[in-house]
Amino acid sequence: MEQLINMVLLTLLALITFGIIRVRNLFAVVVLTSAYSFLMASVMMVLDAVDVAMTEASVGAGISTVLALGALYLTKTEEAEPRYSPLLPAVVAGTTGAVLIFGTLDLPPFGSADTPLNTHVGADYLARNMAETDIPNVVTSVLASYRGFDTLGETTVVFTAGIGVLMLLKRWRKAERRED
């Protein structure tokens, strides 16, 4: 059953990807990417990564769609015809994809218990978590406590990105106001 759901989701993902490549109307592309994110969130649900699914649904399908629509409002809604032949980019993308798939051949099967991921720190966190933090959701305790430095870094990255966007867009507005 799970395999069937996975196959349906991945087929839909592939179809949407082709749609995004083929469609020239950018409004449709934004809607398609939003649908892509929702499908990706479903894939994460099937993989039992509920926290990631939640993030994907809210950030990928929610906020980035709104921001893409906001950006679309400032530009044209039709994608320009490409000036160059798409052959070279297609070769580069195809080769990169092939190399990545080749790389996955060496990975252990999904969910197998004897991988370094599941035998070293992962198992250690699971064993110590309840006694040390008493937080049933291990994702939260790893994120906020055991790996607090990482999360502090991520929060700083979000902050820095926001500051960068504000500097770019706000300065532009002030400069224009001074001109009038």
């Binding site: 709104v66 400032l74 937080i135 406590s145 607090g148 502090l152 929060t155």
Partner: protein, 140 residues
């Protein structure tokens, strides 16, 4: 879009629930999926929905841009401040074990709770600030 009655009414009904769900995701992150990041995005999404339906001016009256810009560094400061609090309780940076006078589990609970609030503050305000920046640009 402002004249669309159905959108306005539905948004008005939905926004309190979206904000409430954001708080639930934030405070229930210890027990179920979610946490500061997800909750921050959900809270921001609720306010962005308000801004889309009722206009950017109404959203900025409810949540002023100055407040949003102050919240962006505030969240990082809360997070880093909790980390420094670890020093004063005789532990390492970002080690919450001693925050509650030696009760390790209790200290961890408070540390995680405060840190997640820091994440919520920064993430929600950053998303809102980016939305304000984009939406405000088209107006002029």
């Amino acid at each position: 879009m402002r004249l669309d009655t159905i959108l306005r009414i539905v948004a008005k009904i939905f926004i309190p629930f979206i904000l409430m769900f954001g708080l639930y995701v934030q405070l229930h992150g210890d027990f179920g999926p979610g946490g500061g990041f997800q909750a921050g995005v959900i809270v921001a999404a609720g306010i962005i929905l308000y801004g889309i339906i009722y206009g950017i001016n109404a959203a900025q009256r409810a949540v002023p841009p100055g407040l949003v810009e102050a919240m962006m560094p505030l969240g990082v400061a809360i997070f880093a401040g909790v980390g420094i609090a670890g020093f004063f309780t005789g532990r390492n940076y970002l080690d919450y074990s001693n925050l509650m006078h030696g009760d390790m589990v209790h200290g961890q609970h408070w540390g995680v709770f405060l840190v997640e609030i820091g994440v919520l503050v920064t993430v929600s305000s950053t998303m809102l600030a980016i939305f304000y920046a984009f939406a405000g640009r088209g107006r002029e």
